[in-house]
Amino acid sequence: MKNLFGLLLSLVLGAFIILALNNTAAFPAFGEVDLADRVSEQYFTDGNVAEVGSANIVTAIVVGYRGFDTLGEVTVLFISALGVAIIFGEKKQERLDLKFKPNFMLRVGSRVLFGMILITSIYIIFHGHLTPGGGFPGGAIIASAVLLLYLTDDRFRSNVKGFKILEGIAGSLFVVIGLLGLVLVTSFLQNFLPAGTVGDLLSAGIIPIIYVLIGLKVGSEISGIVDNFLTEEESA
């Protein structure tokens, strides 16, 4: 009975969605949107790419035009990490026991993989203004590399205190760069460095700097969350 009701509800909702999306005036076919009557049109008009200097237009919007929203997103992530730390963070902690005992080959092989994943994450963070990616996914990849070490070594603990210090420094520097924009130019988080040539690694003004800081902050935050999940109170 419950399943039948659910099926009926989803069929009705699906019909509604299809009817709504078939309305060609409000939702044109894929790839045939006329940008001229959208708000996002102003980001694509000529001159803006040269003004921001970022080859990846998504990054130009996320960090350049909407940098203040990104600061809010980082704050949201910080608050969720704080909540996890409040729930799980006891004084005396030891590793959660895994069901298996990792052998020597697994431990050494995972160290090699750790370096490769870390290099990938650094590439994604540094090329955030040139290719898809950026601070948030790059930071999450750093955290997944740390997670790999936690999984393959049942005695491993990362340097939690160092991560906390790194996170604090990166978050403060983000705000300091924003305030520099306020002091040197006119508004918070405004670009005060030269935009450079589009496509160069060192271009787009403050965008690469901010993305490196976001990557460090997100990586250390999620690594802290992983550490909180994989430790428990001392049972002794």
Partner: protein, 83 residues
């Protein structure tokens, strides 16, 4: 019907099927694994929709970290129950 349409249709149908399985799985661990597969297929559909930025984030967070955290939570809960 082009190849793009066929792939989109197959991925969309698989998304629906796997979402149904994730809701209705009897064991919680199977549910988590179906959720991970759902994220992986969502990555494919994001790439098809030409949103590589979202695809990278979904691949790392949706099918990597969230799955791991869910599984560790299940492990901890099971340990508490057997105590």
């Amino acid at each position: 019907m082009t190849l793009f349409d066929i792939v989109s249709l197959v991925v969309g149908a698989l998304l629906l099927v796997i979402a149904f399985l994730a809701i209705n799985a009897k064991k919680l661990i199977n549910s988590v694994l179906f959720l991970s597969a759902l994220s992986m297929l969502a990555v494919v559909s994001f790439v098809l929709l030409k949103a590589p930025d979202v695809a990278i984030t979904e691949a790392v967070i949706g099918s990597g970290l969230v799955t791991a955290l869910f599984i560790f939570t299940l492990l901890s809960v099971r340990k508490e129950e057997t105590k």
